[in-house]
């Protein structure tokens, strides 16, 4: 890159310039070709998702997302749920009675809706407008229940950041890019 130009040797300088210019074009074209071959070999568009089997319910999903409230929400795999009357994902361990009163609920925002189905079964569903993705219910359900509640990135909210801001903060390495046409990692039977 050191060009000696004490004397006005314009032709030599111009030659050098042209040469470097051509070099630049070659490098960029090579880079383009390399990256395009990467992209062709890849599986196309990806989105962020978290693996519920790795998740440790640390609470970072609620606080580290660029959105407020977080794009991570608790979701419910109904086919795994025991429809327990005493749901440890719904009730605070310190609950004095099994009613829907706020002080008995584990959820800090009251986002879990409890509906009576038939004796002794209750259905639990998530009001995603209220859920902040803190994972308290997920922890409760997994500790004592079937583990039917789990966290997922909700793609109707997620803005698909280039690098998810929750991912580096996740202590369990649970976040990864998944193909956009299979955007969920659901729990099933």
């Amino acid at each position: 890159m050191t060009d000696r130009d004490d004397k006005p040797k314009l032709t030599r300088r111009e030659l050098l310039r042209r040469g470097l210019q051509a070099g630049g074009v070659v490098v960029l074209a090579g880079g383009t070709a390399g990256l395009i071959s990467e992209a062709v070999a890849g599986k196309g568009d990806t989105v962020w998702q978290l693996d519920p089997d790795k998740c440790v319910k640390c609470g970072n999903c609620a606080t580290r997302c660029v959105l407020d409230p977080s794009a991570v929400k608790a979701v419910h795999a109904y086919e795994i749920c025991g429809y327990c009357e005493l749901c440890t994902g719904y009730f605070d361990p310190k609950a004095t009675e099994l009613t829907t009163a706020a002080e008995n609920q584990l959820c800090p925002t009251g986002a879990i809706v409890r509906t009576f189905k038939k004796d002794p079964y209750y259905e639990y569903s998530i009001d995603e407008e209220l859920c902040i993705g803190c994972g308290k219910c997920v922890d409760g359900c997994e500790r004592f229940g079937n583990g039917s509640l789990f966290l997922q990135v909700r793609h109707d909210r997620c803005v698909n950041c280039n690098k998810c801001t929750i991912a580096p903060a996740c202590p369990a390495d649970a976040f990864r890019r998944v193909p956009a046409d299979q955007p969920y990692l659901l729990k099933t039977r």
């Binding site: 880079g31 790795k54 440790v56 950041c161």
Partner: protein
């Protein structure tokens, strides 16, 4: 009291139901009269929004062409500024600053690093279009398209002149930043550029895009402020803009990792904007018009060959010293950098736990949930540590190499008869056009001839 009672109830329930329960579930699923609800899975993006990144790439190409056209053909600062503000709105406030060309460097690094991630076509376009554009027209992308540059350009009201040695020293930070960002992205841990992007949180403060989409869909628009744990970045962005009032575009000049790629390409560019449309009359009027310190005065009379030789030889001796210093710094920084890796963090946790020290509760839980044994984790962590340390040394050596190269460049005298933009640092913003008397004459002539025609 109550919690123990409940735990007791659960235990009894468990024992009662264990016979009936399926093998993998603690509690049996009920026989309900109605079908069970499905777990909802809202799609990533609906309809036309699904491919909006391709639209973004097209807008980017269009904006670079438009900014270059205004810079070369119209020589209009106003035109460049309009393109700049439109891109600030589109890429910044509407598309929330993601993906951007600066960050795309990391996607390319991660893709080559290979953990199953592959860059997509729009991201390749974001990375390469400005590079090709710069090779043709100089840094018109920086001056007229980049939303990060644009938000700083708007506040650059009282630009002070930064002494050249300080300017050169500070801009070395960008080299280190690029090298570190590529290293970390390559290893698949952190996207450093995104993590410390000072302006993206400002773009996202008011979700304009969401509002526009809501109104376009015929819903009632609802605007809510959103900070979401990005307070540190908002402060960083605020400070950067405040500094930017006095030091024009501080991010672009001293921090932007992408500029490290754009500078040499701009030096080689096929065309580059000129201050004057005709011959320079050395009136010195443009000298202070550049807020970015990118206009170089005609070279001073030659101080003598002896002085130049001495300077050059000192720089050539310092060059290897700088590379060695960079290698050492990398070697020292290696362990700290490796702590961004998941397995290194797990290994650290295991070491602390073995030593009976306090350790992180969540890491302990994460360790319990993964299949590897302690020895395997220590082995993986060891490999990562040594790889990262080598990588950090490459980064440090690279920074030393570039620093030395710039020093040598600096000590080599160049002949400049006129006032010219420094091709590396000029952002093609067009501010100097307005002050050039030759340019003014050209405009008056053009206006006069247009008047005659009319």
């Amino acid at each position: 009291m109550t919690s123990t009672r409940h735990a007791g109830i659960i235990l009894i329930l468990l024992m009662l139901l264990s016979g009936a329960a399926t093998a993998d579930l603690r509690f049996p699923t009920p026989e309900l009269d109605e079908p069970l609800p499905e777990t909802t899975t809202p799609e990533p993006r609906q309809g036309i929004w699904r491919h909006i990144e391709y639209v973004d790439a097209a807008v980017l190409a269009g904006a670079i062409v438009a900014a270059s056209w205004f810079a070369f053909k119209r020589r209009s600062r106003r035109g460049i500024a309009v393109v700049m503000l439109l891109s600030l709105f589109y890429f910044g406030f509407y598309r929330l600053g993601c993906v951007c060309s600066i960050g795309a460097v990391q996607n390319a690094a991660l893709s080559i690093g290979g953990d199953g991630y592959a860059v997509s076509f729009p991201i390749i376009a974001f990375l390469l279009l400005p590079l090709f554009g710069t090779l043709l027209f100089g840094r018109t992308f920086c001056g007229g398209v980049c939303p990060l540059g644009a938000i700083q350009d708007v506040v650059a009201l009282k630009a002070l002149k930064i002494p050249r040695p300080i300017e050169a020293g500070l801009s070395l930070f960008a080299v280190a930043y690029l090298a570190a960002a590529v290293l970390l992205a390559f290893s698949g841990t952190v996207f450093l550029i995104c993590r410390f992007d000072p302006f993206v949180s400002i773009f996202r403060l008011v979700p304009v895009g969401k509002w526009i989409e809501q109104v376009a869909m015929g819903e009632a628009g609802r605007v809510s402020f959103s900070v979401a744990g990005r307070v540190d970045l908002l402060i960083l962005g605020g400070v950067m803009l405040l500094v930017g009032v006095f030091v024009a575009r501080p991010y672009c000049r001293y921090i932007c990792p992408y500029s490290v790629l754009l500078r040499p390409l701009s030096r080689l560019s096929k065309w580059h904007v000129t201050i004057t449309p005709d011959e320079c009359v050395q009136c010195r009027l443009c000298e202070n018009s550049c807020p970015y310190n990118a206009i170089e005065a005609p070279s001073a009379p030659d101080p003598g060959r002896h002085f130049g030789k001495l300077g050059l030889s000192v720089c050539l001796v310092l060059w290897p010293v700088m590379i060695a210093a960079g290698l050492c710094a990398g070697w020292l920084a290696g362990p700290a950098v490796s702590r961004t890796d998941h397995h290194v963090r797990l290994a650290e946790h295991l070491r602390r736990a073995d030593a009976g020290e306090e350790t992180d509760h969540d890491l302990a839980a994460a360790y319990d949930r993964q299949p590897l044994g302690a020895d395997e984790i220590h082995a993986i962590a060891g490999r990562v540590r040594s790889r990262v340390r080598h990588g950090a040394m490459i980064v440090g050596g690279f920074v030393g190499l570039v620093a030395g190269m710039r020093l040598v460049r600096w000590s080599v005298r160049r002949r400049r008869p006129d006032y010219v933009p420094d091709r590396g640092t000029c952002l093609s913003c067009g501010r100097c056009f307005e002050v050039c008397p030759i340019e003014r004459k050209r405009r008056n002539d053009a206006a006069a001839s247009a008047g005659e025609d009319g």
